[in-house]
């Protein structure tokens, strides 16, 4: 997928001035947060489970090559095939090749960020293959030709009116006089339309929340059941997954599943958690006759062992962005690529290069809320700070900022100079600001004063006053 992360500021500006988006973001604020709190409130072991989940992933990443090989051999044992893709181009080519061999014209898709990452849908379309998104949120943004704005709720930026408009424009075979006011009607219509697509599909493409090394299984976690119909009905099931999705055992998956749904939507378990292993077995009454897994690297192996290693623990729950005040202000599209929010602020520059996504790790107050809710205990602010450090060292950070910080540090290392300048400035600004108590306007501070008053200093610095006080006490003390 093409990125517009370099245009973050412009994207954010548009987002902040989009009343429809702002209304939708307002609705998001309460939903996921409250439900999550309730769910974890009912599970006293939640904090310990976060530790366990983190440890499982750390162990797996440290032995990733071994686990990948074991996973591959188990998939083959089950009658499936594993295809290795270094780059998005290779992954696309593999999928197209499979579709062509199968004579596929219609493809259904469950939710997969990897498909976004490699730009699969457009590529298939260019080659005469129609790929239909079946997750309701993904379907909606597909017909609107938009990118997902959130990992778990891709259409969260849309009001129901917007959805109804899109349905009317797309489902032209339906009665124009029908009512599409309530979400219920919209869901029913999507169910009807997509049911036909499920049956018409030659190939079903899903992602994978987990790949289980001990059994060669892929796991999807959904609430709608679309992923299941996608992988059940067509002749072939293709799984797209990046390397770091591997976990060792079924029991390990059980542990991480406990923190996944609770962190994502506040459910103890999502409606459907499905483990798929290979194609249908002899005697099975349904199921695909072919099962393929495309393992995508695209920068993951390069991240291992670096200071950004910990982002590979991410299980795509979306809790970080649900709790991020910056995401709540600008929504997902502003981040410009597949992965938004705090995890996107780290993963996006890691995958597409910091030079293309410089704003992302910088547009954070380091409030730390993301880290506090991450089920895998990823230290997101620390990772963002590493990007800032890299930039600073390579002198890629904006000059004005480097000079500003450099100047500040220069003065701060020279206490007499620092105190002198502070005292002078406090007096001057104190005097200037006396009348109103604050500045409506101040040169060099326009970014602040454009929207806020800048409170005036009290007129003397603490150090000055303290020094005076100490001298007075000394001279006044009886000896």
């Amino acid at each position: 997928m093409q990125s517009s992360s370099h245009a973050f500021k412009d994207n954010a500006h548009r987002a902040l001035n989009d009343p429809v988006l702002q209304q939708a973001l307002g609705i998001m604020k309460t939903g996921f947060l409250d439900k999550r709190l309730q769910a974890i409130g009912n599970l006293p072991e939640f904090e310990a489970l976060r530790d366990a989940a983190r440890d499982i992933k750390n162990h797996t990443l440290a032995n990733l090559d071994w686990y990948l090989e074991r996973y591959e051999s188990k998939v083959k044992e089950a009658g499936g095939q594993v295809h290795w893709a270094r780059t998005p181009a290779e992954a696309r080519a593999i999928v197209l090749g499979l579709c062509k061999r199968l004579g596929a014209r219609n493809v259904t898709k469950g939710k997969t960020m990897i498909a976004e990452e490699i730009g699969l849908n457009d590529y298939l379309a260019e080659n005469g293959i129609v790929a239909v998104e079946t997750d309701l949120g993904e379907y909606i943004i597909q017909i609107r030709n938009e990118a997902p704005s959130h990992i778990i709720a891709p259409a969260i930026h849309l009001t129901k009116e917007a959805v109804a408009d899109s349905f009317r424009a797309t489902h032209t075979e339906m009665d124009p006089a029908r009512s599409l006011v309530e979400p219920r009607a919209l869901v029913d219509e999507a169910r009807q339309v997509l049911r036909d697509k499920f049956f018409a599909a030659d190939v079903g493409v899903t992602g994978a929340n987990f790949l289980i090394a001990e059994t060669g299984s892929s796991v999807i976690v959904t609430n709608e059941g679309n992923g299941d119909l996608t992988q059940l009905l067509p002749r072939a099931h293709i799984v797209l997954a990046s390397l770091e999705k591997v976990v060792p055992t079924l029991e390990d998956a059980a542990t991480i599943l406990r923190v996944l749904a609770r962190s994502a939507t506040g459910q103890d378990m999502s409606a459907y958690t499905t483990f798929s292993t290979g194609p249908r077995r002899p005697g099975d009454l349904d199921g695909p006759s072919e099962y393929h897994v495309v393992l995508l690297d695209n920068g993951r192996s390069a991240l291992l062992g670096t200071e950004f290693h910990e982002i590979l623990r991410c299980i795509r729950c979306g809790a970080c962005m649900n709790h991020c005040p910056v995401y709540a202000a600008v929504g997902g599209h502003a981040y410009g690529w597949v992965y938004p929010g705090p995890m996107g602020a780290v993963l996006t520059p890691s995958l597409i290069g910091i030079e293309n996504a410089r704003d992302l790790p910088n547009a954070s107050t380091f409030c730390g809320r993301c880290e506090s809710v991450c089920p895998m205990r990823i230290p997101l602010p620390k990772l963002m700070r590493h990007y800032r450090e890299q930039d600073y060292e390579r002198k890629l950070a904006p000059r004005a900022m480097r000079w500003g910080i450099g100047l500040w540090a220069f003065v701060a290392k020279r206490p007499p100079l620092y105190h002198f300048l502070a005292a002078v400035a406090a007096q001057v600004l104190g005097l200037l600001g006396r009348k109103h108590g604050s500045f409506y306007n101040l040169p060099l501070a326009s970014a602040w004063t454009a929207t806020r008053e800048l409170p005036a200093p009290q007129g003397r610095t603490f150090q000055e006053l303290w020094y005076k006080r100490s001298r007075a006490t000394k001279s006044g003390a009886d000896r």
């Binding site: 939903g31 001990e214 059994t215 299941d228 459910q267 291992l304």
Partner: protein, 237 residues
């Protein structure tokens, strides 16, 4: 493609600053897989007496908007199915999994039920399956695909009815995995690629979506209704 495979694995090893794992290290990983030990299991999921397991399951399943009925024996199942459908004004028509457990129920008692056996075709209004196991911790059903159990029944019909012997109920998911290993792994072997069923569905309530303004609606693509008939007959396995 093997080129890509070697490059990727090589890249992983380079990043981890080591070569391929062998010897003791590899043996330790084999051992970890072989033991497949559970990690921390929540207190609410274990040490529960069987009777209370069913109560916990019922509470959890009801919270996610499945409905639960409890009957004393398989004999009562056809009545339970007929009454459920009639009570909701649903047509007495279903496709049923050709499961040996379901075979044993006296369907002849309810001749007005139109029953088709096999996989779902998308036209039936209701599907009836038997559960492999159930997890009381979260009110979750575990269904495995096979010659007796078509997975399409779990998703295509509007209404899904699942018959669950209480003896197949466990506390946590880890115990469900233990049942699976016991049932499917060949003797003296671990469960692996070929012995796993193609599909294992963990089902917790009916299908739903919150994708439109975060308002939860049922029956997004899968069933709108999930009805679970728990058969509390100790002799039934």
């Amino acid at each position: 493609m093997s080129d890509a495979r070697e490059q990727i694995l090589g890249g992983v090893r380079r990043s981890l600053k080591r070569g391929a794992l062998e010897g003791e290290h590899a043996a330790a990983l084999e051992d970890r897989l072989r033991r497949h030990a559970p990690n921390l299991v929540p207190g609410r999921a274990f040490g529960i007496a069987p009777r209370q397991l069913v109560d916990l399951f019922e509470t959890q399943a009801s919270e996610v908007l499945a409905t639960v009925a409890r009957v004393r024996s398989l004999d009562a199942v056809p009545d339970a199915v007929a009454e459920y459908l009639a009570g909701r004004n649903l047509p007495p028509e279903m496709t049923m999994a050709p499961d040996p457990l379901l075979d044993r129920a006296p369907w002849g008692k309810r001749p007005l039920l139109k029953i088709r056996r096999g996989a779902a075709d998308g036209k039936e209004p209701a599907g009836v399956s038997a559960a492999f196991a159930a997890i009381a911790e979260t009110g979750t059903l575990m269904l495995t695909s096979g010659k007796d159990s078509p997975a399409t029944l779990n998703f295509l019909p509007d209404t899904h009815i699942v018959v669950l012997p209480a003896s197949r109920m466990v506390g946590p998911m880890e115990a469900a995995w233990a049942r699976l290993r016991h049932a499917f792994a060949p003797p003296d072997e671990d469960i692996g690629g070929s012995s796993m069923p193609r599909t294992i569905n963990f089902i917790t309530g009916p299908s739903r979506t919150g994708d439109i303004e975060q308002k939860i609606e049922m029956g997004a693509h899968g069933p709108r209704r999930l009805h679970i008939i728990v058969v509390e007959d100790e002799t039934l396995r």
